[in-house]
Symmetry: C2
Subunit: 110 residues, 2 copies
C-alpha cells in the first residue's frame, strides 16, 4: 500500500465496509500520534495538537478545514485557547474508513 | 446596566468574584439562546449555532475568534460539519464572569 499522505479520499456511502482489523494494524503505525477512541460505540481517530496561542490554534484549524474541503471529508475539532483536538471518523458508516487514516496522515503533515 | 453588547471585557484575575445569582438573573434574559451548563462543577454558557455547510461553519468560527482576540477572552468551540458549539466561561475563576455574558451577547451579534 502506498503512503497514506499520497492517497485521496474516496466517496464513501452508507453500507461501505469499516476498516478491517488488518487494515487498522497496517495503518495505525503510520499515524502513531493518533489514538483510536470509542465513543458511543463509534471508533474515531483523535489527536490533540498544542500551540503557543489562540491565533496559532485558529490558523491550524483553518488549515485542517482547507484539506477537509479539498478531500470532501470533515473532522470534528475542539478548539481551545492553546490546543485543537481533531477527530476523524466516517459518520455514514459509524466508524473508521480508510479515508480517516488518510486524513489523519494529511493532518500530521500540516 | 448598559447593553451587554456595548460593554468591554475587563481583565479578570484569579480570585475575582463569580457572577452573582442576581447578575445572572439580570443578564440571562439578554442572551436567551444560551444555556447555562455545569460540567465538572464549572458553569459555562453554551449555544449551538447551525450552518448550511462546513465553509459557513468555519467562517463563523473565525469571526468568533476575531472578537475573542479583540477582547482578550477566548471560548471553547466544538466545530462540526454544519454546526459550532460555543462555550464561554472564565478559567481563572472556574465559572461565569460578566465577561462571559458580554462575549455571548457579542457572539449573538455576528
Amino acid at each position: 500500500m502506498s503512503e497514506l499522505t499520497e492517497m485521496k479520499c474516496v466517496a464513501c456511502q452508507v453500507g461501505a465496509p469499516l476498516a478491517t482489523a488488518t487494515e487498522i494494524e497496517e495503518w495505525q503505525p503510520k499515524i502513531p500520534d493518533w489514538e483510536i477512541k470509542e465513543i458511543e460505540g463509534i471508533q474515531r481517530l483523535e489527536r490533540v495538537f498544542h500551540f503557543n496561542n489562540f491565533k496559532e490554534t485558529l490558523s491550524f484549524v483553518n488549515q485542517v478545514g482547507e484539506i477537509a474541503e479539498q478531500e470532501g471529508h470533515h473532522p470534528v475539532m475542539l478548539v481551545e485557547f492553546r490546543s485543537a483536538t481533531v477527530s476523524w471518523w466516517t459518520h455514514k458508516i459509524k466508524g473508521l474508513h480508510a479515508n480517516d487514516f488518510i486524513m489523519a496522515a494529511k493532518t500530521d503533515q500540516l
